[in-house]
């Protein structure tokens, strides 16, 4: 704006070629900012500066006029609308209601944002690699060549070994988490006195609150090497990155989760069912086995499904303690890799955004998102239905 004013006014006081205007303008800027000392004998300085200062003043005055008139119009509109029959409160509240609704849309937008961003990149990936090769191929080596002529550069994107590894680790984790979680829940909600509960519950809560990076460090540093040494003593050649070590630590991490959901579900079983069973002469454990657990089963299964979805989505433990080589095996003593570990290794560090290697991470992310979403929707639906049944 200022530049435009100066450009139109300057030729009337100074002879300037249009080409040299930029140079003079910069000089004026510098003189005005006192970067270049003012030279009274230089006509460019004296006359030009006057034009420049005039332009600044014009702009600031017109700015003031503009804002002044906006304020004036707004005030007049407000005065015009302010009359006894106008109910301002209704309008203001409607507006606030709209703002609240817009803010509550953010979580919906997030879901769609996730879906769209993962989907778009995945579609680009499936343009380069066939979707069948991805879902059913058994070779996973995502290292594509940096140079065209590199050996072994093709890159294979058959994700079956990755899915297999994820399942294996989740299986080991659930084998730890389900029994331990379920039995702690049974003990806490059926046997424990409230004073014992007050001590034991926080322990599980602390276990749930430990950051996953700490579990990962622990798995990589203690459990992995421990299992390797155990194998050495038994005469087996094991690595410290075995699925067993990772699954074990992940299982411990999920114990509080299984326990708290099962606890909720078990305490939701009506007391009358238990009392009926006691009345028939059943012991506590018989009541639990034959009455409480069957009644709570749908809820417990839903809780387990939620736990499975956490296990396959868990990232830090596998990144830090699991291997990176994609092995298609169901032996928990061998190292395997998982979907999340692959996503992280493919995306961390510098990357170009159109290589199949980077895009593969989004395809894996899509699979992960869809699978966990289905598990969650189903499990939450069951939990909800189950609650309504006993209410």
């Amino acid at each position: 704006m200022i530049r435009y004013l100066v450009q139109s006014a300057l030729p009337s006081v100074l002879d300037v070629e249009p080409e040299s205007f930029q140079f003079i303008y910069n000089e004026l800027l510098n003189v005005h900012a006192e970067i270049i000392p003012f030279d009274a004998s230089n006509t460019t300085h004296t006359l030009g500066l006057a034009v420049y200062v005039g332009a600044i003043n014009t702009v600031s005055i017109s700015k003031m006029l503009l804002f002044g008139s906006i304020v004036l119009i707004a005030t007049m509109y407000a005065l015009y609308r302010t009359n006894p029959s106008f109910n301002a409160r209704v309008h203001a509240e409607l507006m606030i209601k709209w703002i609240l609704m817009l803010l509550s849309m953010i979580s919906v937008i997030t879901t769609f944002g996730i879906l769209l961003s993962v989907l778009f990149e995945s579609i680009r990936f499936f343009g380069q690699v066939s979707i069948f090769d991805f879902l059913f191929g058994t070779q996973w080596s995502p290292q594509t060549a940096i140079r065209e002529d590199q050996v072994g550069s093709s890159g294979a994107f058959g994700a079956v070994p990755v899915f297999g590894g994820t399942l294996l680790i989740a299986l080991v984790a659930m084998a730890v988490a389900i029994p331990f979680g379920l039995f702690s829940a049974i003990f806490l909600s059926e046997y424990a006195k409230s004073s014992t509960k007050d001590i034991l519950k926080p322990i599980l809560e602390i276990l749930a609150g430990i950051p996953t990076v700490v579990y990962g460090y622990f798995a990589a540093l203690v459990i992995g090497p421990f299992i390797r040494e155990l194998g050495d003593n038994l005469g087996w050649q094991l690595t410290s990155e075995s699925a067993l070590a990772v699954g074990l630590v992940m299982g411990v991490m999920i114990i509080p989760f299984v326990s708290s959901i099962s606890s909720d579900v078990i305490s939701a079983v009506p007391m009358s069912l238990r009392e009926g069973s006691y009345g028939c002469g059943a012991t506590k454990s018989e009541t639990i086995r034959n009455v409480v657990l069957p009644a709570a089963l749908p809820g417990i299964i839903a809780g387990v499904l939620l736990a499975v979805s956490r296990a396959i989505g868990e990232t830090m433990i596998v990144v830090m303690a699991a291997g990176l080589a994609a092995n298609l095996t169901f032996n928990p003593l061998e190292p395997v890799t998982t979907v999340t570990a692959q996503i992280v290794t493919l995306l961390v560090g510098d990357q170009e955004f159109d290589s199949a290697k980077t895009l593969a991470a989004f395809a894996l992310g899509l699979v992960l998102f869809v699978v966990t979403l289905l598990l969650n929707i189903y499990a939450l639906h069951v939990v909800r239905k189950y609650r309504e049944q006993y209410e």
């Binding site: 703002i99 609240l100 803010l103 509550s104 849309m105 953010i106 979580s107 919906v108 997030t110 944002g113 996730i114 961003s117 993962v118 778009f120 331990f180 039995f183 702690s184 049974i186 003990f187 806490l188 046997y191 034991l200 322990i203 602390i206 609150g209 430990i210 950051p211 996953t212 990076v213 700490v214 990962g216 203690v222 411990v252 114990i255 509080p256 012991t283 506590k284 454990s285 639990i288 086995r289 939620l306 979805s309 396959i312 989505g313 990232t315 830090m316 830090m320 999340t340 996503i343 992280v344 961390v348 955004f353 991470a361 992310g365 992960l368 998102f369 966990t372 969650n376 929707i377 939450l380």
Partner: protein, 415 residues
């Protein structure tokens, strides 16, 4: 007949009581396993980490002439440290021996010396407490006492110098201020968590600033204003599902949307804050809704009955009564966000950054990511610091949860 039944029942009683005991002991075992594991984790982390809170220093005499003081900028501090070390071992002459000797002091020592000397320092000899190198630190902390070679990574000569210094009482252990005040470094003895803590503060600040208002607004809308229809049901299901989406997926969202689409800088706390906001939002919303539902309807109806509008009722009665619950939920959400690292890996916050970040746009890491980075290093000095960083992180988490518990206890009302 009834006698038969009685014997039948009493015959079965033994095994039934045994089953009872088995069931009970299974529960106890499960809980013992869980608490044993917790204890194991905490004790290993603590036993590895506590030594990182002290650091080994060497007392070195530094000679300062009047000329030095007059022109501080011309002093070669590295040489001053070296001269001091040479003075402690005047018998050493060979180049190789001296090079070995100089390696006892950390590279950070000269930087510390530069900071300590000003134009007001009186000329003469000062006893400067110089930072020792990590190898000396490890030996001094006794990591190798029981192993075959007690000198760790020090050479034979260096170990001799070290022992001679110990005999002369020049080796000391002091509180490790570097750990708390410095950023990351490639030398363990100079590496600290301050940069990561500042990164975490920025990220959490943004998360708090965004997720509390948005979460509270959503909860208020859903509980007080939203009509009960299909669409509201959809929002609700959506929020519950979002709470269970794996965190790494939020990282993919951040990478694709904020960095590639909107062009935010990589590694910046602002993107981390956005991503963690979206991640903690469901937690905040669910907790806030629970807090709002616990406000008894009688209070709301009383307000409405006195002629308050719905908004007035919410602002003057529901929000003040639900606020402690909302804040508790938010703090728990923040604690989750503080420990989270997977989504931040995706948006490039995993980088070697030595400077302490100054703005929400400067590249930085966070505390969990610093742990992740250090955990990778085979260096003993770093593994000690990894555990120390975990201890610091856990202390922060415990503090946050404590605040949440106190808040809940203090404002909890039974209606």
């Amino acid at each position: 007949m009834s006698r038969d039944l009685k014997t039948l029942v009493s015959q079965g009683l033994k095994s039934r009581y045994r089953n009872e005991r088995i069931m009970r002991s299974l529960g106890v075992t499960a809980l013992l396993f869980a608490s044993g594991f917790l204890l194991l984790i905490l004790s290993i982390i603590f036993s590895q980490g506590y030594r990182a809170f002290t650091q080994t220093y060497i007392e070195i005499p530094i000679e300062l002439s009047t000329a030095d003081i007059e022109d501080i900028s011309s002093i070669n501090f590295q040489n001053k440290i070296r001269d001091g070390l040479r003075e402690l071992f005047p018998e050493l002459q060979a180049r190789a021996e001296l090079a070995d000797l100089f390696r006892l002091a950390s590279r950070g020592a000269s930087i510390d010396l530069e900071r300590d000397i000003s134009s007001e320092t009186p000329p003469g000899t000062i006893n400067f407490i110089a930072l020792a190198s990590s190898d000396v630190d490890m030996v001094n902390k006794g990591y190798f006492v029981d192993s075959e070679s007690p000198r760790g990574r020090l050479s034979e000569q260096q170990y001799e110098y070290f022992q001679s210094l110990t005999d002369r009482n020049l080796i000391s252990r002091q509180i490790n201020t570097n750990l708390f005040l410095k950023g990351d470094s490639s030398y363990p003895e100079m590496a600290g968590v301050m940069g990561a803590i500042m990164g975490s503060v920025f990220v959490l600040g943004i998360t708090l600033f965004l997720s509390f208002p948005i979460g509270a607004a959503t909860a208020i809308y859903l509980e007080e204003f939203a009509p009960k229809n299909r669409f509201t049901d959809f929002i609700e299901v959506n929020i519950n599902n979002l709470a269970a989406v794996p965190s790494v997926i939020f990282g993919l969202l951040g990478l694709a949307m904020f960095i590639n689409f909107f062009g935010f800088p990589r590694s910046a706390p602002i993107v981390g804050g956005f991503v963690l906001t979206l991640m903690t939002l469901p937690i905040v919303i669910i907790a806030s809704r629970a807090a709002i539902t616990s406000v008894p309807p009688s209070i709301k109806e009383a307000a409405l009955g006195l002629g308050a509008s719905k908004l007035k009722m919410v602002v003057d009665h529901v929000i003040p009564l639900a606020l402690p619950g909302m804040l508790t939920g938010t703090i728990i959400g923040m604690a989750r966000a503080l420990g989270e690292s997977a989504p931040l890996l995706m948006i490039g916050m995993v980088a070697f950054i030595t400077e302490i970040p100054q703005t929400i746009f400067s590249p930085s890491t966070t505390l969990p990511i610093q742990i992740f980075l250090w955990a990778d290093s085979p260096d003993r000095g770093f593994s000690e610091r990894t555990s120390a960083a975990i201890i610091i992180l856990l202390v922060f988490l415990i503090l946050m949860n404590l605040i949440a518990v106190i808040l809940r206890k203090k404002f909890e009302k039974k209606w």
